[in-house]
């Protein structure tokens, strides 16, 4: 028995979201009275730090250069066999999502993707996730011998509970990949939306793409990532990868500032798990106010520049 956590490391780096996943795995292992073992695949810098977040062993499978769900599934499945793991935990990231189901089919294991709280292991193995656009929480029970979960970002803060460990090599068969990666284009310097802790988002109330300067400035002052409502992306005012909501990216940052967005149910579906929501809208009847923690009823073209000044003052005073 053990809990195996796949610590993904695209580009060789282990991100904060993965430390959350490892923390989740360590706590699950503690509840089950067993060990948490971490697995990394490919070149990974500083994998030993996973020990600090509760992994008692960290294994690395070398000789893998790019992500391929088929190849990774085969590697992780073999690692499950070698470590005798009966719980496998992944991040609910783009690669994690394509591995969770695949691994479940390979191991004939029940899986739940996108869980956001620790499993209840008091009787059976039960775990919760948000369903129906956040309008409900479902609790599932997994009854197979092996259980697979993928953990939603920002569900649990990374927690140091141990010390760094030596990374050990694990020898497994690496099948040939049937995918050729030609290009990886990432935008440098900004935190990608699914990982962002602070998000500044704007909608049709902005009137046109030429007005986005104040949104970008606000985001910059805060160190936040920018997002948008869907119509704004559809009209080409903003890039598609910024669109949040039911058909866009689902996020759960610590702070979501919604500016000139009405708060349609499909928009809320992707953002209503944010810890704190601030809404700036000139219409007091805008549905978003019902989902907000703090509301500002006013014209965004007056309010946002004022807010930028106030954040600047705050930063100057707190540095």
């Amino acid at each position: 028995m053990s809990v195996l956590v796949f610590a993904e490391s695209p580009g060789g780096k282990i991100k904060k979201a993965v430390l959350e996943t490892v923390t989740y795995a360590a706590k699950t292992a503690a509840a089950l009275g067993t060990d948490c073992i971490a697995l990394t695949i490919g070149n990974t810098t500083d994998a030993g730090q996973l020990g600090k977040y509760g992994a008692s062993k960290v294994y690395n499978v070398a000789g893998v250069s790019h992500f391929d769900s088929q190849m990774f599934t085969s590697i992780i499945a073999e690692a499950v066999g070698k470590t005798g793991a009966d719980v496998v935990i992944l991040s609910n990231s783009s690669s994690g999502k394509s591995l969770t189901g695949r691994l479940a089919a390979k191991l004939n294991a029940g899986c739940i993707s996108g869980v956001n709280s620790l499993p209840d292991v008091s009787a059976g193995f039960k775990v919760k996730k948000n369903v129906f656009s956040g309008k409900s929480i479902a609790q599932f029970e997994i009854t197979s011998p092996v259980k697979i979960l993928s953990v939603m970002g920002n569900s649990i803060p990374p927690e140091e509970s141990g010390a760094a460990v030596e990374v050990e090599a694990m020898e497994v068969a690496i099948p040939a990949s049937r995918i050729t990666v030609k290009e990886v284009k990432t935008v440098d310097g900004v935190v990608p939306l699914p990982e962002a802790e602070l998000v500044v988002s704007a909608g049709r109330g902005m009137k046109g793409p030429e007005n986005w300067g104040i949104i970008e400035e606000l985001a910059k002052v805060l160190g936040a990532t920018t997002a948008s409502s869907r119509p704004v992306a559809d009209m080409g005012w903003r890039p598609h990868h910024e669109h949040v909501g039911q058909t866009g990216v689902a996020i759960r940052p610590n702070l979501y500032i919604a500016i000139g967005i009405s708060g349609a149910i499909q928009h809320l579906a992707g953002v209503n798990s944010s810890k704190v929501i601030v809404v700036i809208n000139k219409d007091p009847e805008a549905p978003f106010f019902k989902a907000a923690d703090y509301g500002v009823q006013g014209d965004l073209f007056d309010v946002v520049p004022r807010l930028i000044e106030s954040f600047k003052k705050y930063k100057a005073a707190n540095n």
Partner: protein, 247 residues
């Protein structure tokens, strides 16, 4: 090219969500259903476009579900699929659904199997990956662009903070995200033709589920919004710092 598109149904997004049997089951009374947007707008339309471009091939849609799903299936035919298959069962778990789809696909040699990125009710993003594993095929998730060149596809896919471009040879499974195609509205001719297209009903193969729903609960109610004077943004910053403690 022989193309298979997996389509699912989901409650219409404005539908009121409620539960029955002591909160252990979804209450479908009065709920209207739509085709899952990722399946309809992106996966299905791209498959039809590929067939149109080649001027040859066949687009089959498959659904695991009860007879009530035939309306959603007919809509897929009206948009332009050539024929449909329904595996006659109430979908019980993602693994079961994927197993049924894979069983059908094994017997029919498809070049590309399309799924949507995820269903918008449970957001699993699981079924496509599972089908790929059962079929021992590559799986490309969250495709935003797909071009075929002979037997090789060039696919762009969403990754954290960017995109990846890759080549993969048929057969493979791809899940479709926003960008892969533009929504098509069925026209009158399509709707008429859909009535005559084949919809084959197949009985499911045996499968033991290993996931079940225990219950549904409602999220804790949000305390009501605190309004801040639009003239006084210092106060908002103070609240975010001292009360919410997030900056």
């Amino acid at each position: 090219m022989n193309l298979l598109v997996c389509i699912s149904k989901t409650p219409e997004t404005t539908a009121k969500i409620s539960f029955k049997d002591n909160d252990t089951a979804f209450n479908a009374d009065g709920v209207s259903y739509i085709m899952n947007p990722y399946d309809e707008w992106y996966a299905l339309v791209r498959a039809i476009e590929l067939k149109e471009k080649l001027g040859a091939g066949k687009v089959t849609i498959i659904n695991v579900g009860p007879a009530a799903n035939d309306t959603v299936i007919r809509k897929g035919l009206a948009i332009g699929a050539d024929e449909a298959v329904r595996i006659n069962m109430e979908p019980a778990s993602a693994l079961n659904t994927a197993f049924q789809i894979a069983e059908y696909a094994k017997a029919n040699a498809f070049d590309v199997v399309f799924t949507g990125k995820e269903t918008i009710d449970y957001n699993g993003a699981e079924v496509g990956a599972m089908v790929a594993e059962y079929l021992d095929m590559p799986f490309i998730s969250f495709g935003t662009n797909l071009e075929m060149n002979g037997n090789t596809a060039t696919i762009s896919r969403d990754i954290e903070g960017g995109e990846e471009v890759l080549d993969v040879a048929t057969p493979f499974v791809v899940s479709a995200a926003k960008g892969m195609a533009e929504q098509r509205i069925p026209n009158m001719r399509g709707i008429m033709m859909a009535k005559r297209k084949p919809l084959n009903v197949v009985e499911p193969a045996a499968f033991t589920d290993n996931v079940k729903v225990v219950n549904y609960t409602l999220p804790a109610a949000k305390s009501s919004v605190k309004l801040v004077d639009p003239e006084n943004m210092d106060e908002l910053v103070r609240l975010l710092h001292e009360e919410a403690k997030i900056i």
